[in-house]
Structure formats: structure tokens, C-alpha cells
Amino acid sequence: MISLPHFLAIGAILFGLGLIGFLSRRNFITMFLCAELMLQGVVLNLLAFGRYHGSLHGQAFGLFIITVAACEAGLAMALFLVLYKRGKSLDSGDWQAVREAGVSATLETEALPAYVPDESPTLPVAGRIPEQPEVTVQEPFRA
């Protein structure tokens, strides 16, 4: 015997966490993963209610949600590839030039921390220290 509200609560928490990530993260891929997190919460709700009513309709709905999520993943990856080719980054902030009229641009005031490359691994005596590639720290975006 299983209690329904516990599963609904876990579904709600997953949905809320996904909401936070989708609203505030800037990497396209993280945003997409957060949207999938929200879908997981929804599927959990559907399955719990299906079990509650003792029927398989909830599971059928869950299967369709997975189908739609797979379509979404394929299309999203294609879009991210195109956006990456154009902007050379996965930052959604780079595309704020297409914001609505009357909305002010987001300006970054704080500098990013300096990049400290990892130390190269310890090599045996006969080894040669590999060349470290040139590091370019990205400038903050200005609209």
C-alpha cells in the first residue's frame, strides 16, 4: 500500500527545482536539462494518480510525455548547434539583442574570477612538459 501525497510532493519539488534552473541559469543545455526535470515531476504525478485509480491510463500518458520529450531533445540540440555556430557560445544572454522593445539590457558589473588552469600532471623524468594552450578569458557581454 502506497500513500499518494508523498509522490505528489516529490513531483512538486522536482518541478519547482526545474523552474528555478530554467528561470535563472544561462547555459542553454542546463536550461534544457531543467525543463526535463520539470517533465519528470509531471510524469511522477501522472503515474501516482494512475496507480491511485488502479488503471494504466496514467502510464500511457507518461509514455506519450517521454515521446514528446525525445522530440524536444532532438530539436533543441539542432537549435543549440545553430546558435553555437553563430554566437560561438551557449550563453542565452548573448541573444538579449532580440528582447522586447522597452526592456532594458542586462549589464554585467562584476568581473568573472581569474582562470587558474589545473597544474599539469606529474610526469616521469624522461617526459616532456606538454605545452599549455593559450587561455582567453571571455570579456563580459555588453549590449
Binding site: M1, I29, S89, E108, V137
Partner: protein, 348 residues
């Protein structure tokens, strides 16, 4: 516990505030980011939420007689905690590749919860589709992008405090609705999922009756149809006698008894129709009887023959939806290829 903390509304509000502050601290930012403080606040928030759930709704898994099933509860809490903690990791990880791995663990944890909900096929499908395909596809895109060092997209967050307040406020509202929506006198019927209690004799009776109803609907001849209807009635009469009483204490048995009792008016309609000798009315009542019987068959086999029954449901009731889902997949594939394969035009 002080009395003010025992109030469920106080617990919810406290958990929302602590959780929002915790996630806001943990989200990647150039300056104010405190991993230890954020973790502490989040642990406190989820601890309070767990206390709220246990105090308000009891333990998640119960034995037939209403006592707590320790092993079942432990399994539920392990999977629930795993999905929530890795979910936080997906949101706050700086490195998106680590976020993707954390998301794979969220999928594995929710798949454990799917198994607890008697959905083994969906569990396998989710693991294959998400952990197998989607995560790998996104790791592939991440490898292409190859970001080194701090960058705008990974180390900056848009409105961390407002965003996490929105998310946790939403969680708080949903849990508040759950709190208000379930009856405060927890007599164990409204909030618990029915366990499936169908004896083998019941299952055989339902199968026999279903077979006769199907056979009766398949033939045109009125007399033969009448004969099959009579045999179905006999089989169901045995089932109605042996079914548990509705006043039983086990919620699962109660639900099953109510389901079986809901056959009674249908049977009465059927016998009326056969007495009055009207083939049309007989056929009509047989069709409605077949619907309830197929539901009962599905219930009897919910945990055991999950794949077979899910397939039956998909290719009977959801046939149009299955076709549309297939079309959607095809269209999405064509669209993805059309979008991603454009090379010359994209640079022009």
C-alpha cells in the same frame, strides 16, 4: 518540538524561505557564493519538508493492516532524497557536463519511484530514452562547445534570489494545496493507493465472464448471444458472492469491493433485457458490461502483466494518439536534420 514549529503552515513557510535562500547562495555567481551555507540551508529546508510530509500524511508505505512497512519506507525515502538532491545539483552545478551526469542520477532515482508505482515498463523506457539517449546527445554538444575557464554562461546567473523564490514559492503553494485538499481526518481511505487484492478464483471468474461477453458480442444470432450472456451472468454471480465486503478495513479491499459492486446495476440491466427478449437492449448492456470487466481485468493485472496490458491499452484506446506520436517523432527528426544541416546559409 515547540508548538509553533508543529503547525504545518509554519513548517511550509520556513522550508520555502530556507530553501530559496539556500539555492540562491548555491547558484553560480562571481562573488557571493557560499557552498557550505547554501548546503546547510537546503538540508534544513528539505528536512523540514520531510517532517511536514511525515507529520501530515504519515509514512509513505504501509502494510495491509495499516502498520508502517519499514523496508518500503526506506526505499521510498532513498529514491525521493536521491532525486531531490541530484535535482539540486542539476540546477546549481557550474559545469554543465556535471549537471548532465547529475540529471542521469535524477532519472535513475525517479525510475526507482516508478517501480514503486508498479510501472516497470515505463521505468525501463525512461532509463533507455533519458539516461541512454538524451544525456549522451547533450554531452556530445557540450564536448563540441569546449568552454575553458570561467565564462558568462556557466558562472553567471540571472536574478538568483528572485528565481529561487519563485521556484520555492511554487513548491510551497503546491504543498499547501495538497495540505488543504486532503481531508484532515486521515482515515486512510482518501490518501492511500489501493493495493490490488484479487484472488485467483476472482480472476478466473472475471476472465470467464469477459470471454462470454466477447463471444456474445461477436455473433449476430439472438439465441446464441442470449446463451453466452446467461453464462457470463452465472460466472459473475459467483464473483459477487465471494467478493470482500465494502465495510472492510483495508482500503485496497474496499476499492476492489466497490468496483465489483458497481457491476450489480449492469447485471440487473442485462437480466432485464434478456427477460424482455430485446436483442438491441441486450447488446447495449453487454457493451457496457464489457467496459467495466476490461477495467477489472486491468486492475487485476496492474503489477504483474504490465507490458502486455499497457500494449493492449495503447493499441486499443490510444491508437490514434500512438499514430500521432509516431508522426510527431518523424516530423521532429526531419526538422532537426533541416535545422542542423544548414551550413552555407547559416554563415551567409
Amino acid at each position: 518540538m515547540p508548538p509553533i514549529l508543529a503547525n504545518p503552515l509554519t513548517q511550509l513557510a520556513l522550508a520555502v524561505v530556507l530553501g530559496a535562500l539556500g539555492v540562491a547562495l548555491l547558484l553560480p555567481k562571481p562573488r557571493v557564493r557560499s557552498v557550505a551555507g547554501g548546503t546547510f540551508l537546503l538540508v534544513a529546508a528539505f528536512g523540514i519538508l520531510g517532517t511536514f510530509l511525515v507529520l501530515r500524511f504519515g509514512q509513505p508505505m504501509l502494510m495491509r493492516d495499516g502498520t508502517n512497512s519499514a523496508l518500503g519506507s526506506v526505499i521510498f525515502w532513498v529514491f525521493a532524497l536521491g532525486s531531490v538532491l541530484f535535482g539540486v545539483q542539476v540546477v546549481v552545478q557550474r559545469n554543465p557536463a556535471r549537471g548532465a551526469i547529475a540529471f542521469a542520477f535524477v532519472i535513475l532515482s525517479t525510475c526507482g519511484l516508478f517501480l514503486l508505482l508498479a510501472a516497470p515498463f515505463l521505468m525501463a523506457a525512461t532509463i533507455v530514452v533519458y539516461a541512454g539517449a538524451i544525456i549522451v546527445t547533450f554531452l556530445f554538444v557540450l564536448m563540441l562547445s569546449n568552454v575553458r575557464g570561467p565564462s558568462d554562461e556557466n558562472d553567471r546567473t540571472r536574478e538568483p534570489l528572485l528565481g529561487s523564490l519563485a521556484g520555492f514559492g511554487f513548491i510551497g503553494l503546491l504543498l499547501f494545496a495538497l495540505h488543504q485538499g486532503t481531508a484532515p481526518s486521515n482515515d486512510g481511505f482518501d490518501s492511500e493507493l489501493p493495493s490490488v487484492v484479487v484472488s485467483n478464483a476472482d480472476r478466473t471468474a472475471i476472465e470467464v465472464a469477459y470471454g462470454h461477453v466477447e463471444a456474445a458480442l461477436a455473433i449476430e444470432d439472438a439465441a446464441a448471444m442470449q446463451q453466452h450472456a446467461d453464462e457470463a451472468q452465472q460466472a459473475l454471480a459467483v464473483l459477487l458472492e465471494s467478493s470482500p465486503s465494502i465495510s472492510s478495513n483495508d482500503p485496497g479491499a474496499k476499492v476492489q469491493a466497490e468496483r465489483i459492486a458497481s457491476l450489480k446495476p449492469l447485471l440487473r440491466k442485462l437480466s432485464d433485457a434478456s427477460l424482455e427478449n430485446k436483442p438491441e437492449a441486450l447488446r447495449e448492456s453487454l457493451v457496457s458490461l464489457r467496459e467495466s470487466l476490461s477495467l477489472l481485468r486491468g486492475v487485476a493485472e496492474l503489477p504483474a502483466r504490465n507490458v502486455a496490458n499497457l500494449g493492449y491499452l495503447l493499441y486499443s484506446e490510444y491508437l490514434l494518439a500512438v499514430e500521432m506520436a509516431g508522426t510527431l517523432l518523424l516530423v521532429a527528426t526531419i526538422g532537426a536534420v533541416a535545422i542542423a544541416a544548414r551550413r552555407k546559409e547559416a554563415t551567409a
